[in-house]
Amino acid sequence: MEIVIEITSALCLLIGSFLCVSGGVGILRFPDFYTRIHAVGVTDTLGASMILVGLMLQSQESLVVAKLLLILLMTLFINPTATHALAKAAFHNGLMPLLSKRSATDKEP
């Protein structure tokens, strides 16, 4: 049982860090704001929650689990909201996505 939890936790952490790194690469490499926000918004939420789940599996105290759960909930709430608000504000203020200059493949994450 112990072993299973250990492995699951390690797996979660691994996936989480991989996702985070890919998001990081995304924010650096993508050509315009909307693709970048796409990269970050998607990977950040999942990556963060993976890492938090991984940590939860490792912890013994229930208070710690509760706190981690709180953080998890908050990331789940806050991240998409912030990303949404950011994208909306950017769009409202006339920041246009790069559509015409590059080919369509560039926009795929």
């Binding site: 908050m74 709430f77 806050i78 909201t81 949404h84 608000a85 909306k88």
Partner: protein
């Protein structure tokens, strides 16, 4: 940590502030790595949160771009290099980083670490030093923040005309009519934040946290509300005279605990005399003064924020009138 270099070069002030915010976060993570949890707590809420927010609001009023003026950079550079060289020279004889036998760890600190449990009975040493051994510093700190609040009040407070208010809000609200998701999420979050602030306030004796941090978080919740729902709605809940009163009450509360201990026969801020059992007295004293700190800090942060934002609003109205 090369962010600072970037800040020097940057002309766009908004970007500078973003970077300053990152710098605050970064230094806060550094504090965690250095075991200074309480400090990290404060730096996170202050350095990355409140102060960059204030700077932003200030920038909306002052304009965002910096003129490329180059006056006497050489002289400045010379001064800086001299100071830096002096500092590096000074560090040469310092005990090495992390060494446990440095004088700093030998003279005063061991008593805090070894005896504070018996003398005060609070596991968080930082709290016990802050609120009991060096309580007068903390009192000074509260007064400093109170002074800043009063200073901002004197500088920025404006006499509000009732007609102005209604007009400005129509403008503000239309801006945020569309942000439905934001409003709902904010509404859901705010009770949690307030609850968490209370947790930090009363848990400060056992974990990181305390009055100051709780005050900042509490204020942050209300600032969030004010930002999303407009200033007027939040002013309905918390108006200016009330927060001024609260700020003053916090300082007075702290001071009066000192006076009570003085009247009970101890020295100023000696909590041991507050209760028959000295340790219970210490507990009580720490709890009460943390309350005073939290009260003042929260209300001063609100004073500062409301005055900045209110000032901005008045300016905007004036500008609108001019354009009309």
């Amino acid at each position: 940590m090369g962010i600072a270099v970037a800040i020097v070069r940057m002309k766009d002030l908004v970007a500078v502030i973003m970077l300053a915010g990152i710098y605050g976060l970064l230094s806060a993570s550094f504090f965690v790595a250095m075991d200074a949890v309480d400090v990290a707590f404060t730096e996170a809420s202050v350095g990355a949160g409140i102060s960059s927010l204030l700077m932003l609001v200030a920038i909306t009023m002052t304009g965002r771009s910096e003129h490329p003026t180059r006056h006497k950079p050489v002289l400045a550079l010379v001064v800086v290099v001299i100071t830096g060289a002096l500092l590096i020279y000074g560090t040469l004889d310092m005990p090495y980083f992390g060494s446990a036998d440095a004088p700093i760890h030998g003279h005063v600190a061991p008593r805090y670490i070894n005896d504070s449990m018996q003398e005060i009975g609070v596991p968080n040493i930082v709290t016990s030093v802050l609120a009991s051994y060096r309580a007068f510093d903390t009192f000074g700190e509260v007064v400093v923040i109170f002074t800043a609040g009063i200073g901002v009040l004197t500088l920025l407070s404006v006499v509000r005309l009732p007609e102005d208010v209604t007009k400005s809000y129509s403008l503000n609200d239309s801006m945020y009519e569309q942000q439905l998701i934001l409003r709902i999420v904010t509404k859901m979050l705010i009770p949690f934040i307030l609850l968490f602030a209370l947790y930090v306030q009363f848990h400060g004796e056992y974990g990181p946290g305390g009055g100051f941090q709780a005050g900042v978080i509490f204020a942050a919740a209300i600032i969030l509300y004010a930002m999303v729902f407009g200033l007027r709605t939040s002013r309905r809940v918390i108006n200016q005279p009330f927060i001024q009163l609260a700020a003053a009450m916090g300082v007075l509360f702290y001071g009066s605990i000192g006076l009570v201990s003085l009247l009970n026969g101890g020295n100023f801020l000696d909590y041991s005399v507050l209760n028959a059992d000295p340790i219970a007295g210490q507990h009580l004293g720490i709890l009460l003064i943390e309350l005073g700190v939290g009260c003042t800090v929260a209300s001063v942060m609100l004073i500062i924020f409301f005055n900045f934002a209110g000032r901005r609003e008045v300016q905007q109205n004036r500008r609108d009138k001019e354009t009309k």
